[in-house]
């Protein structure tokens, strides 16, 4: 999909929709069952940052990692979750997955 000078592939369009949805939950103060919105917001920022820096070839591995991180946000506090995200990226780089 072409929006002005930018080209978005399907995954990115879904990601943008998801972020807009997350924004709406904050704006309308909806509750996402079981999940902590603050953790999700922080994860979204980090995921966008890393997604912006990673080449598209690593999308699949990164998606698996992101899904597990979002799931782990149910069990981990904010700081261990950040540790999980950064250490996980470190291991992915170390094992040449990304």
């Amino acid at each position: 999909m072409k929006l002005g000078p930018f080209y978005f592939d399907t995954k990115e369009v879904f990601l943008v929709i998801l972020i807009a949805f997350l924004g709406a939950t904050f704006y309308f103060q909806w509750n996402i069952p079981y999940f902590d919105e603050q953790k999700l917001l922080l994860l979204t920022v980090l995921i966008l940052l890393i997604k912006g820096l990673l080449p598209a070839i690593h999308n699949e591995s990164f998606m698996v990692f992101v899904l597990l991180t979002v799931f782990m946000s149910l069990y981990l506090e904010l700081f261990p979750l950040l540790l999980f995200f950064f250490i996980g990226l470190g291991f992915f780089k170390l094992l040449r997955i990304i």
Partner: protein, 141 residues
């Protein structure tokens, strides 16, 4: 192994390693799920690492020396209970001791004493020595 399978194994390996590392760091290095580093982080890390090394080396040592040495538990299991006094039995295996208290058989003896100006009733197994005054004071602190 195909590229896809290889990638899957690597991803799983990375995720498991991440989980263990996060558990280890948040328990041994950081304080209370926050970014503060524990003041005793060094010794905590050493303790966890030595525990890990022990958990690997001790079973291996047992595996290779199973015939020549027996564990304290096995030695205890093989030795016989000796009667200390009525209702109290014990067995000893060098570095381990097992004490069995058969409550139904025990004959209790009660005596009154004063600890820190207060009258207390002490119940001991009949036939054993009464604890010292200092030991009683420490116990009742």
């Amino acid at each position: 192994m195909s590229m896809k399978k290889k990638l899957f194994v690597k991803v799983m390996l990375a995720l498991v390693a991440t989980l263990f590392t996060v558990q280890f760091l948040s328990k041994s290095v950081f304080l209370g799920n926050g970014p503060q580093i524990r003041p005793d982080a060094g010794s905590a890390v050493t303790m966890v690492l030595s525990g890990f090394i022990d958990s690997v080396t001790i079973p291996l040592a047992r595996l290779f020396n199973a015939s020549s040495t027996t564990s304290a538990d096995q030695k205890l299991a093989n030795s016989e209970l000796k009667k200390i006094t009525t209702g109290v039995y014990a067995k000893d295996a060098g570095n381990a001791t097992y004490i069995e208290l058969r409550e139904g058989e025990v004959v209790w003896r009660e005596y009154e004493t004063t600890v820190d100006g207060k009258k207390v009733t002490v119940k001991i197994v009949d036939g054993t020595n009464a604890p010292s005054q200092t030991a009683l004071e420490n116990f009742l602190k």
